[in-house]
Amino acid sequence: MISPSSSWLIWPIIVPLLGAVLCFLAGKPPRRTGLLFAVLTGGASLVLGWQVLARGIESHALGAWRPPLGISLRADGAAALMVTMTAVTGLAVSIYSGGYFQSRLTGDDRDRRRLAQEQYFWPLWLLLWGALNGLFLSGDVFNIYICLELVALSSVGLTALSGKPPSLVAAMRYLLVSLLGSLSFLLGVGFFYKTCSTLELAAIIGALAPTPPMIMALALVSAGLLLKTALFPFHFWLPPAHANALSPVSAILSGLVIKGTWYLFYRFWQEEILLAAVGALPAILGGGAIIWGAFQAFSQQRLKMLVAYSTVAQIGYLFVAFPLLADPAGMGGPALFYFAISHSFAKGAMFLAAGTFLLQMGHDRIDDLAGVRQILPVSSFAFALGGLSLMGLPPSGGFIAKYLYVTTAITQGRWWLALLVVLGSGLTAAYVFRAVAAILSPRLLEERPQLAVAASMQWSALALALMAMLLGIVATLPLALLGVK
């Protein structure tokens, strides 16, 4: 039995849940409580990451009932890495949000609604954070279903928070798609249980076999997860939802939420039997996403829409490399995870910066943003650095990920994959520079508006972007963590 002093496995889940309840209990907008619990959650997650790195796999049988009867939490390297990633992005987003909601108060009639938004933002966000950690750490498929629902419902709540008609419609789509995905997942779980008599994830994955019930179960589960991850062609709901949400919410949705379902998909699909049989399927869809998403991103007029479509394209990268998981040298997994983390940081930073522009300028039309650098140098720099990582240019985590993708693909003789990745990063460069050229443009603004945004909004975005850069230089640490199996 694990003594409480040694196991941190449970805390990244409970602390945010507790925080969410306390924030909900608080009468007025619970900014301090929210920030406090965000810091505590982040701290707990980082400690867990460190523990796994130092001591190996952590596991915790809830209620001391072992599977298959009970549920156990389990943190291997991959799970711990995702929790750590969530902590870093989550901390930056939380700090940003503190400044964001403060800066939006204008002292006029709209403040009441804005205060109401903040009042629900904190509990919803903390619940989402806890549910994501629960998702990464859970070792039980039914429990994962509940976590998925928690994630989906809180994401929908956050999406709708802005209250504008487009975001409400987007939230509705998001909710329906999510429910469809969850139900498909649950039916798959039913088939799994019928066949294996267990809900333990590891046991189910171990028992995967090409029998009709198992195939059907896996197909249902995978379809549900793909739908929720918004892999092309299931991406239709994502851009409006991500782009119309409040800016910290956009960062959360793009940087973190899609990674949850992607991670689950990875857990099911990393098995070699599966990869050998149908591994090309996610790769083909991923390829479609890369091309389609990039073209769509390029033709957007609004910055947040551009960033949102870029998420569609980048999700493609998360799936296109699935065939590489069969790499004998074992570099496929690191490539995928490296990409996932860098994307989380870079995309988070870009959405946060875009949100700062939107708040300061009152719009996010790309062509009219020229000169924004002079008012918001730090945010502009953060956006550019995030874009750098997205394009896979050095020095950034994106560069390392791309390098791993291409070398691994060439080693395996998957030329189409290598070429696709290179082509894709060219397309990425095209749309990222469309935005960056406007933001960094030296054109002088006619009038210099009063600075309306809090410093924490600028610097938190930069910190996140710098984390993406740092990944390009200290690559060994996350890979060592990932190597804990």
Partner: protein, 104 residues
Amino acid sequence: MTVSPALIYGLTGLALFVIGLAGLLLCPQLLRKILAVNVMASGVFLFLVTIAHGSGALIDPVPQAMVLTGIVVSVSSTAAALALLCRIRENADRRDPSQQKGGR
């Protein structure tokens, strides 16, 4: 294979799932989509209950517990969906009258 009640229930559950899916895909109205999702959920729950009864004499409590949990999830998300629907309606209502004024 004999036709047992379990068999009928299970197939009914699956059929409900597909019918719900059809409704979700094909009905244009949001309210119907929400209802369709509920039909799907009922199908899944029926399927799970069948699994609980499917094997041997003992009734398996685990799927039953799953169904109970699933129902609560379904209630919660349906409530959220309906609230969203109301908001979307309100917005549409607020826009419509002004449009009519402009048109006439």
